[in-house]
Point group: C3
């Protein structure tokens, strides 16, 4: 294969004909340099706290990105060839970073028409100035070019946040996390910019191994008696407060389903006892989690933290892979989701409260028009999250807007989330969202469904304002 | 916010490029002034029987429209601010019509890109000549302008039907309704134009409170012994006949699911006994409803009434709202629907009959291509209803056509229904449907999938003929 | 109705504006005359073995095509009017071929905008040179014109395969089939071109009547003791080998669901015993089929045959029709499908094997983005099949690409299958697929999501290479 230039079409994803073309361009131009508001994601706070340079292109772009790993794996390329060590393996038993990057580059064609390709191309071109497409021939050259960059101070994590115009970014930590990196960030005056999110799955979900130990640890950390349900709730209140002291404005919940419950105190105590003892049935475990979502909603009403729910991922379907390589290797597969009956107990308890923000995400797009848009279009507390994970893509965004806006309107949505652990993809992902929003709005105007003046207001709302409003973030100056 | 003009793009929703543009325009121009055939809806027959003027803009456009109420409610605006009184509240405890209209106008932006906005804009501009968009500044002016119109004779209900070129409109009444307004209409010679629809949910569904009393009332009205299943069926036959005497051509069924059954008479009697006694289990209640759908199909074979099924709405999810404000306030949410296994008993009993028309609607779009189009593309009795409720929108119509026509063809569909209680939205809704059909057909022709001559035949069929044929309506003269 | 010309738009289905127009045309021109690779279908091997002429237009185009039969039936046209005899009826009790063709032609409008119309038009125009559209007026003329053609040697089955440039075509036979026609084809040196596919449903699914007798017949054919589970498995191995000796490269499984299992040998034996004895419960029957899918996967790992799974068709919903006319008359309706939990046992047993190709099809499009693309984008064995049956249509193809490619990429798909028993539709179906792929790729390039050079590589892959690679077929020379 001959060497191919890597160029970014400046009009990528925008419409190409008629009135929509010029209007989409104008809408995009208005917001393309706006600061990034990233209220939900999984970057490593150590990067920003310690600000140590990234080591090499593979560790930055390949190994931590489960989108990339799964695509290679699906084509028979073992993780070892990508430099990923199994449990008990040392790093020198697998491909070196350079060898791994060669495998990555030689199989670049696998990403054709995927969002990973667009994110990676954008990062290669805009961050590192790469001008050729990855291939067997160009692998070493690109690898060296990136590594040369990474050695320079302007490629250190904090500098990258500046360069990417990141106004606000949230990481995600478990309920027991000591938040040492966020403490550093706070000491450095960065905790209005890099904050944590309270993700208590590991102390709410009795299915996760080590549940009882963690409940004990929760007791120790908070000096509450977590044997009593009331004490357990107070302990969670205390941890939420601890997270808020480092700037957290939101919680996140990764439950298998959206099931909620509104049970009597005695029943709650009984379920907690069974969960701790490891004697809870599958149904009791589900009911415990269901009750705890409602408790979390109640605490959000108390403390103002925005609540997020990400249900419906069937985690770690590939057992051999899990055993050898651990989680987050690309073997999490969506299953059907149900929201209407599931959320009924929680919504009837807290859903009419004006002090409660509850953001719903889904991996099951059949729920967009059927359940989520009608729910968000009725309940005061609800906001519809952006397209999540597999659906964070141009087509995914298109389906999301087309299937939700007519019923939910724009003002029951909450802007874009990148939800990523791939730092370099953040500006690229927000750029895709801004382009797709500009396109959607321009097409609405062209079709006579929206006024042009409304479109210009909306593009600001979709890019910045709705995210800030939903997640309680101080809005950036838009400098217009 | 400065004052913005309210203008309707004459080419709204039509394609903007290529051959499709001119062709869609020609198709739309052909049918845009055709009479309206509205075989399914929820307008109030009292309007047309009594022909009293509407009181004010709020009572006409805001308060009765649950699409509008739910959008405001979802953004934290209480129903009282919209002039809706709770149970036990008097009208002067809530916002006056003028105050409510101010709230409506000041929050006009919430409807951006929703079909409600398009319907309301069309009504404001075309019916009342409003030339500015609703806003805090323009609220009073628009309110007064509409009210001035409403005081004039040409804005009384019957005059509006003339003005909207309504050839036929069906309302919907419960099985026990005395149809006094339809009697007036009949006396006035209007009962070929405004007719009722037989909607017997309240005497078929034991879950609805007061079931036993209504079965007793059914007995009284019909002089049948509704304690026996045979007598109960005869009573229903009698009521169907009563409805037909006021022009009804169709029945409608709003069951929670599409479940049908074909049970032995002894089992039917047992279920009726349990339903009356209030001792039926959830499963028995569902089986009773299931059996009754099949009985209704059998009666349709006997009497020629077109049967309609609207399953899958989870009614009144918001219990506090239901308690305070009653039903139809925007808290009905769709759930998954299933048709294949559910309809099997009914279809195997009556589905091969050439004397039976059975129209299916859904709120679960995932059933369009998977279940409904294949079913309608096989069973002689079945016709596929238009996109319903949340899906009665430009995008909803697009998905409906794209996901059903290739399998069901056009001739297993039944034209458009507006299904609304918002009188003013009727011409606007039919206009949207005509535009979207013109667009769909023009795009098919442009893509070489349909002949142009076929498209011109089809636009007449989709606008008028299929509805008349399916619902047994005398077709209007199309005056071409 | 006046006589209308039948003309094929040379640019049908291709984009009509902008850069995509010229590019799609160039992509399509590149591949439009490529040989046809048809790795999955249901043509009758007797046609190619015996090479006797087809009798008349009705027997060729109407009677065997369940897409056509069901559409007429759905509009109240009895099968007898189409020349289809019921059980116990003789051919002269139903419409003659000429009469049936008249019915077909007079109701031609029913197919507007369906893929059947496009396939039939293409066959009429390109194979038989028909220049007028079917109608009551033209029926006899077209019928005679086709019959005149069929009497000529260049319209005999083998000549048609040459004319259609069929490089490879697979038929589908049950596990006990003696493959006499494939033996003839082998003797004639045609068994690298027309091959069989191993479809063992009738000896794997205890629900199908006569299961025990067939298991006995399997024992006789293979001289294995099929009373023991091990013997039963060996008998299946022997039959797979027999099929491979006639060129088969693949198996196919038409189970009601995608459920798989990985059970202990003792449990397998117990289920086999119950299945043979006819005492298995519904749940045990499902578990037996589930286990057998996993066994088939294991045998594919052993012998290299590509495994295909077609789940989720609810067969023969119309019982009266089944009784009178038998299966495959258009009364098979899709139901919801589930893949993630269902396939877990099989995938965890064999899914990481690089020697295993497993192709998944679905009739439930809601699984495309939610389940199938993520599964295919992770498991090394999986390939995503093309849109199946009701979804083998322009819109169906569009939805398939739009909802799968971003997550699965192109290289976890396997090209196009026509899956048809309608011989004349084969070139038309592949032509539609090539046009839709050219359009999809051109639009991706226009939107800046794909390089033009990539698009030209991909169109070859989608048209020929992926099918050959997935199904172990020697690729044709592409003669570029």
């Amino acid at each position: 294969m001959s060497e191919r230039p890597l160029t970014l079409d400046p009009d990528r994803l925008l419409p190409r004909q008629g009135r929509a073309q010029a209007l989409a361009r104008a809408l995009y131009d208005r917001v393309c340099d706006y600061p990034i508001v990233s209220p939900h994601g999984h970057t490593d706070p150590a990067w920003f706290a310690l600000d140590t340079p990234f080591e090499n292109a593979t560790d930055l772009l390949v190994t931590p990105d489960h989108y990339v790993l799964r695509m290679f794996y699906s084509q028979g390329i073992p993780l070892s060839a990508l430099g990923v060590a199994a449990a008990g393996e040392s790093r020198d038993q697998v491909a070196s970073p350079r060898e791994a990057f060669r495998t990555f580059a030689a199989n670049w064609h696998l990403f054709r028409a995927t969002p990973s390709r667009m994110w990676l191309e954008t990062a290669l071109a805009q961050v590192f100035g790469v001008e050729v497409q990855p291939s067997a021939n160009t692998a070493d050259r690109i690898f060296d070019q990136i590594n040369d960059c990474l050695a320079q101070p302007e490629f250190r994590p904090r500098a990258l946040l500046d360069r990417f115009c990141v106004h606000f970014i949230a990481t995600t930590e478990g309920a027991l996390d000591p938040l040492i990196h966020h403490a550093t960030l706070k000491a450095d005056g960065w905790n209005d910019r890099v904050v944590t999110t309270f993700r208590p799955d590991d102390v709410l979900n009795p299915d996760l191994p080590g549940f009882e130990e963690r409940i004990d640890e929760l007791a120790e950390l908070t000096r509450e008696d977590t044997h009593s349900f009331a004490g357990y709730l107070n302990a969670l209140r205390t941890r939420r407060e601890f997270f808020r002291s480092f700037g957290a404005t939101a919680t996140d919940h990764g439950h298998p389903t959206a099931q909620t419950a509104d049970l009597e105190p005695r029943e709650c105590q009984r379920l907690l006892d069974a969960a701790r003892a490891g004697t809870a049935s599958l149904e009791e475990t589900e009911r415990f989690r269901a009750q705890m979502l409602t408790e979390m909603a109640g605490m959000s009403v108390e403390d103002g933290m925005t609540m997020q729910l990400h249900p419906g991922s069937f985690r770690n379907q590939n057992k051999a892979l899990l055993e050898r390589y651990g989680p987050d290797r690309g073997a999490d597969i969506p299953v059907t989701a149900e929201f209407v009956r599931s959320l009924e107990p929680l919504l009837n308890r807290y859903g009419n409260s004006a002090d409660f923000r509850f953001v719903l995400y889904t991996l099951d797009e059949s729920t967009y028009a059927r359940e989520l848009a009608p729910l968000a279009g009725h309940w005061p507390c609800l906001r519809l999250g952006p397209p999540w994970w597999f659906h964070d893509s141009p087509n995914g965004m298109q389906r999301h807007r087309h299937e939700t806006i007519e019923t939910a309107g724009f003002y029951n949505t909450c802007g874009f989330n990148d939800d990523t652990r791939a730092l370099l993809s953040i500006p690229a992902r927000h750029d895709v969202a801004r382009r797709m929003d500009a396109r959607f709005l321009a097409e609405q105007v062209e079709e006579g469904r929206l006024d042009e003046a409304d479109a210009f207001e909306l593009i600001d709302d979709l890019t910045v304002n709705l995210a800030c409003e939903t997640f309680g973030i101080e809005p950036p100056a838009l400098g217009i």
